[in-house]
């Protein structure tokens, strides 16, 4: 009996972040859940998105909680698949614990850090909760599941666990949860599009690495809104596809075509040129379930995040095209239906 009481005490410390075992009720600030560990109360579980059924709606457990305030940035430790993992999360300047707020999950590239993605993408400046998960290093550099060099870990499960946690800590608009990624992180976003579309409603990949393992489960995938950016002079993940560090990968045209077909869209795109040397293709005719596919082909562009304030990657930057702005507009046009 004594043991059980002690264990519960420990959960209180975990959940609230600061309350001592002896005084679990003394947390005057009343946060739903603190920064640490794997603890989740029964309330958290019933409010976590996974079990809530249906697409999506409803307030998350974090609504009304004061775990984070507006304009804050936290690193959050989390246990997933028996491993210690971490993500960074920022709240928008106008965040209010009572307002359901969209979430953008942004995945860094190989060898990179969540901090890199935060700076590269700048999603924290959007009116969204920006989440930057940290990839594991399996010995070949930090990376996400789906490439030959990936660590042995289930990053889809990690993403589920992060979302559970974010939903119980913060007030999330479950109809507006989006995922974007760069390079290896872009490839991983494809896997999420095929496997986690019950919780994420729109997807974007920049200079993505579309290895075989990032299409695992895509045979059964439903139509989903997808946006792709790629430079024709990308020297890391070439536009024409090939054989890379992580195995064979699809050409960009084939990859985009898979989504056009999956979404049932007509193959003839509307084409325009938002800036010189950039071809924008919009596939929206006949698409099923209100989806669409968009592609930005950047002639001469390298392995970079267009419009980023910092240079990460290889080759020519595309300063006049703002991938983050375009992705954000695309996301907000595609809440869960």
């Amino acid at each position: 009996m004594k043991k059980i009481i002690r264990a519960l005490g420990a959960v209180a410390v975990l959940g609230f972040g600061l309350v001592a075992c002896s005084a679990p009720d003394a947390d005057v600030e009343g946060s739903g859940s603190g920064a640490s560990g794997s603890a989740s109360s029964s309330e958290d579980e019933s409010s976590g998105g996974k079990d809530s059924g249906g697409k999506n709606s409803g307030r998350t457990g974090g609504c009304g909680a004061s775990t984070m305030r507006a304009g804050e940035s936290w690193s959050v430790p989390i246990e997933s698949g028996g491993k210690h993992r971490m993500y960074q999360v920022t709240t928008p300047a106008e965040y209010q614990a009572d307002d359901q707020t969209p979430v953008v999950l942004a995945f860094h590239g190989m060898y990179e850090h969540s901090e890199t993605m935060k700076r590269l993408s700048g999603f924290s400046d959007k009116p969204a909760i920006a989440v930057y998960p940290q990839g594991l290093d399996g010995g070949q550099g930090t990376a996400w599941q789906g490439a030959g060099y990936s660590p042995k870990t289930d990053d889809v499960e990690f993403t589920e666990d992060i979302l559970d946690r974010v939903e119980s800590d913060l007030c999330v608009d479950k109809d507006r949860v989006f995922a974007a990624g760069f390079s290896n992180g872009g490839g991983f976003v494809n896997l999420l599009a095929c496997r986690m579309s019950d919780r994420i409603s729109a997807f974007a990949s920049v200079a993505g690495a579309y290895y075989e393992g990032t299409r695992d489960g895509c045979e059964k995938a439903s139509p989903e809104p997808f946006m792709e950016f790629h430079g024709t002079e990308d020297g890391v993940m070439t536009y024409r596809g090939g054989d890379g560090k992580g195995g064979k990968y699809l050409s960009v045209e084939d990859f985009v075509d898979e989504w056009v077909v999956r979404n049932g869209c007509a193959r003839d795109a509307e084409v325009d040129h938002p800036v010189d040397g950039v071809e924008h293709r919009l596939y929206e005719r006949k698409c099923r379930s209100d989806t669409e596919v968009q592609q930005y082909r950047i002639d001469g562009g390298g392995h970079t995040w267009p419009g980023a304030p910092v240079h990460v990657g290889q080759g020519r930057d595309t300063p006049d095209l703002h991938a983050t702005d375009l992705i954000w507009d695309f996301f907000t046009d595609h809440p869960a239906t």
Binding site: L14, G17, L18, A35, S73, R85, M86, Q134
Partner: protein, 316 residues
């Protein structure tokens, strides 16, 4: 980069020492800077009342003008601040507590960042991953440059390093622990852990409360010295034959006992900077110059005779 000798600031504002006053503190700090010391070791809890040392040190730094730019400021959180940072329920490694403690320290120091911020002692309740994540945030926010542990066991240092590399959080780069010729227990676990993980060790109590200065002999203490008024019990329990052999060892080599105590520490693998308190400018000058001796193998063996290494508790 830090100086081989750092100035311990625990005695700033402490009654009965020349550094009790701001003038006394100013003169010790400026003597330290003049002597080439760049590392200053304060903690939120130091001083007559919690916060006193930080406040007085901050004031002394401002008095230095430009020279203050090159100073490496160490501070710490995690000891009992007697409510100064609000109710902490003993969980002083938690995010909320760290944020409060850090802001309060910065305000007292009058600086916008701390160069090296130590977790003064593990609180025993907060999961280490939460502490690391909270420290990771303050590093990213630019309020802290580097982080370290103090009074952590070897396994806790190892655990934290694993957690940091697994999660991608900022690593602890330094460990401040009790270590001197009279107390070599850090050699059992802390130093090997620090070596394995590339962590710099900052030994505190290099003079064992002044016992290794040679100024205390056979139970006698000079007037005004610390042990005579603050820890008389220590004088009673000291092995004076051991101290005599140590004093003789130094004299045979034309060194002061203090030179030997400091230089021996500085020669230990992983030791980054020796943290010594001083209550007067003379002490600071002496200490800053006390690591120039490089002990040879014979010297080390002779010191091992006088101050035996701790007995291993297993075959490692």
């Amino acid at each position: 980069m830090v100086s081989t000798v750092g100035l311990g600031c625990n005695n700033f504002g402490r009654a009965g020492t020349p550094t009790e006053t701001q003038e006394g503190t100013d003169s010790v700090v400026s003597a330290a800077v003049d002597a080439g010391i760049t590392l200053f070791d304060v903690a939120d809890v130091y001083g007559k009342e919690p916060g006193t040392s930080e406040r007085m040190f901050g004031q002394a730094l401002r008095g230095l003008g430009k020279a203050a730019d090159d100073v490496v400021v160490v501070s710490k959180f995690g000891m009992d601040m007697k409510g100064t940072n609000g109710a902490d329920h003993g969980a002083r490694g938690s995010r909320r507590y760290i944020n409060r403690a850090l802001d309060a320290s910065l305000e007292r120091l009058g600086r916008d960042h701390i160069d090296l911020y130590f977790y003064h002692t593990p609180d025993g309740v907060t999961p280490p991953e939460e502490t690391l994540a909270a420290l990771d945030d303050v590093v990213r926010a630019g309020k802290v440059r580097y982080i370290g542990t103090s009074n952590h066991a070897g396994w806790q240092i190892a655990d934290a390093d694993h957690l940091a590399s697994e999660t991608g959080a900022t690593r602890y780069v330094a460990a401040e622990n009790h270590y001197n010729l009279l107390d070599r227990r850090a050699e059992l676990e802390v130093l090997p852990a620090a070596q394995r993980f590339g962590i710099g060790v900052l030994p505190y109590f290099p003079l064992a409360n002044g016992l290794l200065t040679g100024k205390y002999r056979h139970g006698t203490a000079p007037d005004g010295s610390r042990l005579s008024h603050s820890k008389p019990g220590l004088l009673e329990s000291t092995d004076w034959d051991q101290i005599e052999r140590f004093v003789a060892f130094a004299a045979e080599r034309d060194l002061s006992p203090l030179d030997v105590a400091f230089s021996w520490l500085a020669s230990r693998p992983q030791v980054a900077s020796v943290i010594a308190g001083a209550t007067s400018p003379e002490q600071v000058r002496t200490n800053a110059a006390a690591t120039s001796w490089v002990p040879g193998d014979d010297d080390l063996a002779a010191l091992d005779e006088i101050f035996p290494a701790p007995e291993k508790i297993a075959l490692f």
